[in-house]
Symmetry: C2
Subunit: 326 residues, 2 copies
């Protein structure tokens, strides 16, 4: 604030900015993005210096009806190639798979046949063994891998440490702190960075952070993690994502103030593509999301409340706390 | 996060929640609030356990045309009494005066004749002497006083420390960190807490925080200050305030989780009074406010940009950085 000393320190630290707009934002609109949206976002990310762009989920067509979702729910090789060609850019391409929602053995190509660079495996802590298996499979196929432990705010410390022990011994390159419910405060995030770091660093893993904006803390939590040495930082344009959404990519890029990143391409993308999209899809901070964040419950309750056009917040508070509050 | 240990610690610490909705929110709508709004807000604050309610500014009618502002720009004794009567509640009543915008000697009643409890004197650091005089005057008239040093993100350390030296020797009960431009990060706030504390605590002063939401950090910055021992925490319902607005009162009350505070009355107030108001007045995070926050310039530029229905963010970025960025 008083001088630029700390900027020099930042520049020497490694960081990877991950744009998850198509993936987490896709949850908002069932992955039905307008024609040309993915392509324009890819170009904006390339121009902005974003390190990794997540195109969506890779899930099984046997488990999800493909007439009910846009193409980024499935992330076929040809869908991604239709946007990136051979991807002769510095942007790495990732997809996410949830434990239990895909049989990777029938879906994952050998790395040399794919433009995908990174598989991110999402799992609850109780699914750590299965997650580690999926990570191993993708790793063996030649991919960079992450393991994203969801809804960590609901874990007790013992369950979390058990999961971390398993995942830290897997070949995952990065282990993610995921605040699915937008329930955590910067202090919690910093504590989690220590807990994760203790398990992860001795195996040479990096850490990542994926935050939600229920309490308008997604950006604050992301930069708190960054200050603790977390290197993989998830964000989405305009914070587009389930419920209250995510860390705003434009805030994060602005904050980092590194020559490698440029804000202007993202500002142009916001004007040209996000502002029209906002008229068709709804996400971002609202009172019911604040309440699910505060009381550490899944945002689905708030999504349903808003879909029903309810505004009886006091009753909702009572419902989600099972009558603990009146 | 893992247990409630830290909640017990919090409860033992002193804190004063200040609702500044009428005052900072009044900047958005020239203090023209709907009939009954102030009264309903007062009742909600009483029921919620809010410690201090700021009714507005006290400025000189000679300097501001009273046909162009609602009554909370002037905060006459009878206006406040029409809402609070003799204020036989636990809520303390404050008003704000800016250095140079009022001759307090013609405006301030002896405390025993007034329902106002607190005068908050707002000044830039270069106006510290004048601020200290105004504080002394209000103190001598029997009031609790604060001095709010505005736009601290633009001060160099020497100017700030000079101002703090002057204000710390004044009779001000509380010295406020004010991030007028929404430019500071939690780390900056924590550094400022140390700088302010070093000057203030030896004279028995308390510290306060007033944050703006340009980078969606108003709440994060407020709780960062709280963690550093800052006791006076400003917020507004739905974050209503100039430009990107302020720390959300409902987030803050929810966060504190103290028996003295109740969220439900604020939730009812949001539904009944803020949601209609949102259709008439505009505030809150938007891209131009992010940019003025990032580049530490006054939000007026962003307010004008939005009023002109402009969306050429890249040009705006260029303008506010005087061409440093292109």
């Amino acid at each position: 604030m008083f001088d630029t000393e700390d900027i020099d320190i930042q520049i020497t630290r490694d960081v990877k900015v991950v744009d998850a707009t198509l993936r987490d934002g896709g949850i908002v609109n069932s992955f039905y993005f307008p024609e040309g949206f993915a392509s324009a976002l890819y170009k904006a990310n390339v121009a902005a210096g974003v390190d990794i762009m997540e195109f969506g989920y890779k899930v099984s067509r046997k488990m999800f009806d493909e007439t009910k979702f846009g193409i980024w729910k499935f992330c076929d090789e040809q869908s991604i190639r239709s946007v990136v060609g051979e991807n002769r850019t510095d942007v790495k391409i990732s997809v996410m798979s949830d434990v239990g929602r895909v049989d990777l053995k029938s879906e994952v190509l050998q790395k040399e046949k794919s433009v995908i660079d990174i598989y991110r495996i999402a799992a609850y802590s109780r699914q750590a063994e299965e997650a580690a298996e999926m990570v191993s499979y993708c790793h063996d196929m030649g991919y960079f891998t992450t393991c994203n432990i969801m809804a960590v705010s609901r874990d007790d410390r013992q369950s979390l440490e058990r999961a971390l022990d398993i995942i830290a011994r897997s070949p995952a390159d990065v282990i993610y702190i995921v605040d699915s419910f937008g329930s955590l405060y910067p202090d919690d995030i910093m504590l989690l960075c220590d807990i994760y770091g203790e398990k992860a660093y001795k195996y040479g893993k990096k850490l990542g952070i994926h935050a939600h904006n229920n309490q308008q803390l997604a950006f604050a939590n992301t930069i708190a993690a960054y200050a603790k040495g977390v290197e993989y930082l998830d964000a989405t344009v305009c914070g587009m994502g389930r419920g209250a959404g995510n860390c705003y990519l434009e805030s994060l890029i602005g904050y980092l103030r590194r020559p490698a990143y440029r804000l202007e391409p993202l500002l142009a993308f916001v004007r040209e593509h996000m502002e029209p999209l906002r008229k068709q899809a709804s996400w971002g901070y609202d009172v019911p999301y604040l309440l699910t964040g505060l009381y550490n419950v899944h945002p689905y309750a708030a999504i349903d409340f808003l879909k029903a056009d309810r505004t009886d917040y006091e009753n909702f508070l009572h419902e989600i706390t099972n009558g603990e509050k009146k």
